[in-house]
């Protein structure tokens, strides 16, 4: 990686972070909304912990995994919308007229998403610890959790970038949000899969990759070191990342039609 390329990546990443920070709604909403949902769920569904076989007696600990995935979704949508805006305003054309390499734009953009995703994950973790959640996997587990949040942000960020580059429309990117949310709700978000009594829901949650992302985080919080959950979580997050980055890279090449 030469110096000019590194420079481009850092500057484009910084721009991605700076403009997100300068839109308070894009910072506050992804931080606060998942924590509000956590508070509501923890208050309303606490009785679920008394079900036989429920893996913990603290619903907050059980549900703390959700903000990590939900927050990444919010941040991703915002980042994708910003990229689509660059296309709509012609800013991407301006960048195309410089010697900038397409991969620098994508790396910088995703770098910004990952940085913000990491900040969000630290906040969720801090809030969890502040309300008494104890990480069964210990301090090392916290680091693994943050690393996982980073991979999830990267994967979702690349999906948002792909949607933006493919459609060039902020509205189209925002339109993906309900789809992602459906995936979130038909997962093991609020109940362990083995305790879901409705057959179709249990099947849907089992085939839904989001369940394994949540269960990976959850295992670090309430189980300790669960190799299977970690392998499935990192494997699925990694696969989403690889596919999404590849799709985004191809779309970027098409979008940058310069000769």
């Amino acid at each position: 990686m030469n110096e000019a390329f590194a420079d481009q990546v850092v500057l484009l990443g910084r721009r991605s972070v700076v403009r997100t920070v300068r839109q308070p709604a894009n910072v506050v909403f992804p931080l606060v909304f998942p924590l509000l949902i956590l508070a509501v769920n923890a208050g309303g569904l606490d009785a679920a912990t008394r079900l036989p076989g429920f893996p913990t007696d603290s619903f907050v600990a059980f549900a703390l995994a959700i903000p990590f995935i939900q927050g990444a979704l919010f941040a991703t949508m915002n980042a994708g919308t910003d990229l689509a805006r660059d296309i709509q305003t012609g800013f991407l054309n301006r960048l195309s007229l410089t010697p900038m390499r397409g991969v620098a734009l994508l790396t910088g953009q995703l770098g910004g998403v990952v940085t913000l995703g990491l900040v969000q994950a630290v906040v969720y973790l801090a809030v969890g610890l502040a309300v008494g959640v104890r990480l069964e996997s210990g301090p090392l587990g916290a680091l693994v959790l943050l690393a996982f949040a980073l991979v999830v942000s990267l994967g979702f960020g690349a999906l948002g970038a792909f949607a933006a580059l493919r459609t060039g429309s902020g509205e189209a990117v925002q339109g993906l949000f309900p789809v992602f949310f459906v995936f979130l709700f038909i997962s093991s978000m609020n109940m362990p899969r083995n305790l879901i009594e409705i057959d179709w829901f249990r099947v849907a949650a089992t085939v839904n990759p989001v369940s394994y992302l949540i269960e990976c985080v959850r295992s670090l919080i309430i189980t300790g070191w669960d190799a299977e959950a970690l392998a499935l979580g990192f494997g699925i997050a990694g696969a989403i990342t690889i596919v999404a980055v590849a799709l985004a890279a191809v779309s970027l090449r098409t979008r940058l039609t310069r000769s």
Binding site: L11, T89, R94, S259
Partner: protein, 331 residues
Amino acid sequence: MTDYAIEADGLVMEYKKGPRAVDGIDLAVAPGEIYGFLGPNGAGKSTTVHILTTLLPPTAGSARVAGHDVAKDGPRVRAVIGAALQEAALDPLLTGREHLRLQAALQALPRAERGPRANALLERVGLSEAADRKVRGYSGGMKRRLDLALALVHRPRVLFLDEPTTGLDVQSRTALWEEVERLAKSDGVTVFLTTQYLEEADVLADRVAIIDHGHIVAEGAPRALKAEIGRPTVEVLAADDADNERVGAVLARFGEPCASSQGAAVRLRSGETDLADIVRALDAEKVTVEHLELHQPSLDDVFLAKTGRSLEGAGSEEREAERRELATEAA
């Protein structure tokens, strides 16, 4: 190696299921020249700029900028050009200075040079005071000036300006004209400027190409183009209405009488050099003149002569046609 800064041969751009936006354009622009590309909305001006700046590959034909083929040698072309495209493509959340520093970095300027270059350009376009304000608070003129500064970061030899003054007030427009003129005359930058404003092309361009429906219908120095299609007219209004008939008789000695909305008018046989003789002749006839006006043919007259339509109405006619087409499709 060509001597021209910009050269195009039979340039064609045909969109799928669409019209030929550019239909066989040939042009050659000399280094340091300001070349005006004048035409109504939808004439093919922006598409031509997109091809010449390597953003759009042509369907047919070829073009070279600074000697480099735009289709085959994009990176070399981009290294020597600057462009301010039709939309002032700025990030509303960044400041003017941040834009310039980002652009300087992406143009691979050495790190130590970026700050001073940004400051110099901000000073040059009169944005030093607003440099650290977010662009969303800038006026249209300020955005355009920043857009121009961004195009100049890497000291390009050829500058493309796509309708740089559209929507600007007179003061901002004049300031931008002065800057463009300075770039060409003092710095030797070749400027390819698209515009739909007759006055802009007339005042600024060394040569003008008039484009309509993807074709160049006329090309040359504004004065030559206007001279080609007609001679100037003089219109005189006598202080006393009763004298207007005598004024008409005097004017008839200098050319063919033509219609006048107020007094009398004549199309000059020998051009504007007759003007002094006309004044002397009116004085000899002891006619008191209330108003005397020399009308030069305008570029609009050139457009009218070449296309049968007025340039100032052409854009709206096309927009109206587009609206009708869309309404029909929707129905």
